[in-house]
Symmetry: C2
Subunit: 278 residues, 2 copies
């Protein structure tokens, strides 16, 4: 199911401006979220992050329209993955931002792959660095080619997903999620300044940590430290919390770690509480 031009549509084929800067230059951003029983999990956090990203890029966004679309897509799909996208709209040739941009907003809902939730991931570090000097490293922009190439490489090595270090040699994130490592009772995740998206699940985990007897800390994390962790996991809006089964070939017992099981319980409760179903 798609959302285009202010309404639901069954077809992805729509009249679209070939000068759209989202298409020609990656000048736009998106958001991915989980629908359960027709409701959006962490709905307001997703909309707030989407609005913050649009503001950073200077792309006008009518947040009420985005909310309307998100709710309509969730109701339409029931259980599934939601994506909303905002581009800066059509423009003349070249990089210069139009004086009066006419942004384009659209969305899509895809049936659930319920098996994704809490499923483990095998990670492999990529040689492509996350560019923490760019604001786009902290926004879910349309510039995903590095993540695509890194994941393709990781998958060719038998892993599920790439792990990015940044230019300073600190771990930043996985190709499609934030990274956490548990050391005893300490729960460490890289700070946003290391080139990290402000994930909605990342924020939830930091909120839930204390209830799970973990002390949360946003700290730079060298890759070598991760090997010493008791557990490593990745968060995103569709997997929620994905234990890392192995990192660069080193097996990790993340999936059975009690703190991870407890975090997953808390997340399950949060989904139940917000959506009325899991």
């Amino acid at each position: 199911v798609f959302w285009y031009d202010g309404q639901l549509s069954e077809t992805p084929l729509q009249p679209f401006d070939l000068t759209d800067r989202g298409l020609t230059l990656g000048d736009g951003l998106f958001d991915t979220s989980l629908a359960r029983a027709g409701k959006v999990f962490r709905r307001d956090a997703h909309l707030a992050r989407f609005a913050a990203g649009a503001a950073t890029l200077g792309i006008p966004l009518k947040i009420d329209d985005a909310a309307l679309a998100l709710d309509a897509l969730a109701q339409s799909i029931g259980d599934g993955a939601l994506r909303i996208t905002l581009t800066r709209g059509g423009g003349a040739r070249g990089l210069r931002i139009p004086d009066n941009p006419k942004p384009i907003f659209f969305g899509a809902a895809t049936p659930a792959r319920g098996d994704l939730i809490f499923s483990s991931l095998v990670l492999a570090a990529t040689a492509i660095r996350r560019n923490e000097t760019s604001p786009s490293s902290r926004i879910k922009t349309l510039n995903y080619l590095d993540a695509i190439l890194a994941n393709q490489d990781a998958q060719s090595k038998g892993a599920d997903e790439a792990l990015f270090e940044n230019g300073a040699g600190h771990v930043a994130c996985a190709a499609t999620g934030n990274l956490f490592a548990i050391f005893g009772t300490r729960l460490v995740t890289p700070p946003l300044s290391d080139g990290v998206l402000a994930g909605t699940m990342r924020a939830l985990i930091l909120e839930l940590a204390k209830a799970c007897c973990l002390q949360p800390a946003e700290e730079s994390l060298p890759l070598a430290e991760c090997y010493k962790a008791d557990a490593v996991f990745v968060t995103n809006s569709l997997r929620l919390l994905a234990p890392c089964g192995a990192l660069n070939g080193k097996t990790l017992g993340s999936a059975a770690h009690p703190a991870i099981l407890k975090l997953q319980d808390e997340i399950r409760s949060a989904v139940m509480s917000e959506c009325g179903a899991f």
Copy 2:
């Protein structure tokens, strides 16, 4: 004038797949070239680079179709700017590359801004680094958001265009062109490994250097070295050779440098020879 679905069209509004990965993930590439008197300057170099980029990204390209489009757009516009774009086509949610991608190819021709050719540029360094660890730093991909943000910042400081250093602190390129610096009779440009697009004009300049009494060298270039240069210039397919009038506020006498005047003469001759007009 546009090219879509194998033919010329007057309108940019076309039936387009909202799941197109070029639009949703920046999964694609493009090429910009100059048309003069209905012909494409450096036509074969542009097509070859486009094909090489598509091959690196693993996006199937029918190069004869691209050539057909480029020629048709050039003939249609006479004098102008040409752009051809290739995306990986539609796909399911997520980053994983479809097993059988159906790439989308389209193009556009825009009337000439003849005043761009050889016009000077004022450059300002940006804090966003060019990510030389990524293959996409050497390909004209759809991921142009860093360049857009950097140029917006440069223009807010009164400059025309941003100058990128890479993660190693070496100069890489301007937001829309390759960079050259002249030291005596030495002509230095950063190597591709520093995160640099293999510009068609860059290649032509390296070819023409000796005829202009310059010794060409592809060498890493710290920003501080650029201030000591006798002249600095930017090359791209529409400006051809743009002398740098000032760099981070330091005035440079690039436009009047005899080697630059000679290079511009040679370029003018090359355009005349290939297109029959300048």
